[in-house]
């Protein structure tokens, strides 16, 4: 069995390593070794599920997942609903803890997005919990829950309308006391569909000629609002998400294929454009919203 080591810290900064490693992993049954996982955020959890599902589709067999040894990490994965989705993707031993029935501190558990009804479910769920978190942790006004819900709705619809494959969404609040000195909310939305290049290819590739690539497709959608639909009312979701994230001084990055594009504020040193990643299907969106200063 081939072994893929999961980074000890699996978050928005390291998830590309995992996705890249998944692509280059040798053929045959794969083991995701997460025994040394010490820290994981929604990007890490959703990325791990996505990597597993890509491997499963490629090889036709469930990859194996070695669970984290750290009981806190295991418990957190459980609270985020990781194992509910993982059981369809990975084979793993039965150490995975069951979720407690008490009140949860989770902003948005890992939720599969397959159809529009799932988007409604996400918005319903967020309505019930997000207001308190956004106000108490981020210091946002009460009305921010509406814009937060709109962001989630648009970004999840992106999966349904463009990916033509299922995906996952998750969100949680963290105290980035060392990194930023304040709380943040991290949102992750990922799918393993056809990606931005695939979605835009028929309508826009010819115009770009030999410059057409994952980078130009991402720029076309992210910066210029291009969409595969001829309807001029389409394509504004990503644009408006960018605008709202900017208003909150947040960061948004989208990986698709071999490139990742981002709108990064001054507190984030992530490069705005990365190319030359390993080709990974679909699109992977990370949004980080910091507390008001």
């Amino acid at each position: 069995m081939n072994v893929l080591s999961v980074p000890t810290s699996l978050d928005h900064l390291t998830v590309d390593e995992l996705l890249d490693a998944t692509h280059v992993a040798a053929e045959g049954r794969l083991l995701f070794d997460a025994r040394h996982l010490r820290w994981v955020d929604p990007n890490g959890m959703v990325g791990l599920l996505l990597a597993g599902s890509v491997v499963q589709s490629r090889s036709g067999v469930m990859p194996r997942l070695e669970l984290p040894e750290n009981v806190d990490v295991l418990g957190y994965l459980s609270r985020m609903g990781f194992f509910r989705e993982a059981q369809e993707i990975f084979e793993y031993d039965d150490r995975a803890p069951r979720r407690g029935s008490g009140p949860s501190d989770v902003l948005l558990e890992i939720t599969p997005i397959r159809a529009n009804v799932d988007v409604h479910a996400v918005v319903d769920r967020v309505q019930a919990q997000a207001g308190t978190v956004l106000a108490s942790k981020l210091g946002y006004p009460a009305s921010a829950v509406v814009q937060f819900s709109v962001i989630l709705s648009e970004v999840c619809q992106n999966i349904i309308e463009h990916a033509e494959a299922p995906g996952f969404v998750a969100a949680q609040a963290y105290n980035w006391s060392k990194r930023l000195g304040r709380f943040v909310v991290v949102i992750s939305v990922m799918d393993s569909g056809r990606g931005f290049r695939g979605s835009l290819n028929d309508e826009h590739a010819a115009r770009y000629a030999d410059r057409w690539a994952d980078t130009t497709a991402l720029e076309a959608a992210f910066l210029h609002g291009l969409t595969r639909f001829p309807d001029s009312g389409r394509g504004q979701g990503i644009q408006q998400i960018r605008r709202q994230v900017q208003r909150w001084n947040g960061a948004i990055t989208i990986r698709s294929g071999t490139a990742r594009i981002g709108q990064v504020p001054e507190w984030d040193d992530t490069p705005p454009l990365v190319d030359g990643l390993e080709p990974f299907p679909g699109s992977q969106i990370s949004i980080i919203l910091p507390a008001k200063t």
């Binding site: 409604h120 918005v123 009305s143 509406v146 648009e154 619809q157 009312g233 408006q240």
Partner: protein, 193 residues
């Protein structure tokens, strides 16, 4: 005979959403939901005759995303601006701060304008009016009604009068086919609020 051959109707979008989707809340999210709600509104207007004025009430809608705003506001307006469409006028009420940005964005993107009640008894022209249209609309809104004989004095320049008539063409002001008087749409729906 009345000067305004219109019988304004109120359409509660919140209740249409509840009939359209299974949700505990009145969330106007996802494009198929918006499309279904728009079609429900269009169905209601089928029986409204060749000329209608509708008050589209968004006050019970909690979340309105951009896809739905595009369907329920922009595409609804576009549909009735087509050459062969019935003459339909719309006023959107309950357009408070949480919805305003989404509606403004979709109207601007499609080059449309719409009359909206943005606070209690406060009406604004949202979307993409030019300066002359904006000023003409504000003057009409202040007065509520402008008689045919007052047009020359209130709008002395040709371009100002042209702007007033564009408001009628863009369906954000009503000119009576009987008297030629101009009516602010807000005045015509006030009794429904």
């Amino acid at each position: 005979m009345t000067d305004v051959p219109l019988d304004p109707i109120a359409i509660d979008v919140g209740s249409l959403v509840k009939k359209t989707v299974t949700s505990l809340y009145s969330h106007l999210v996802t494009r198929p939901t918006g499309r279904a709600v728009r079609m429900a509104i269009e169905t209601q207007l089928l029986g409204a005759g060749s000329r209608s004025l509708s008050l589209i009430d968004l006050s019970e809608v909690t979340i309105l995303d951009f896809s739905c705003a595009d369907e329920v506001v922009a595409k609804l307006l576009q549909r009735y601006l087509e050459v062969d469409a019935q003459e339909a006028f719309f006023v959107f009420c309950g357009v408070h701060e949480p919805h305003r940005d989404q509606i403004q964005v979709v109207l601007e993107r499609q080059g449309l304008v719409a009359v909206a009640e943005t606070d209690t008894a406060v009406f604004e022209l949202l979307g993409a009016p030019d300066d002359l249209e904006q000023r003409a609309w504000l003057r009409l809104e202040e007065r509520g009604l402008i008689g045919k004989d007052d047009v020359e004095s209130l709008f002395p320049e040709d371009e100002q009068r042209a702007a007033l008539n564009r408001l009628v063409d863009r369906r954000v002001a009503f000119r009576s086919p009987i008297s030629g008087r101009y009516h602010a749409l807000s005045r015509l729906v006030r009794h429904l609020l």
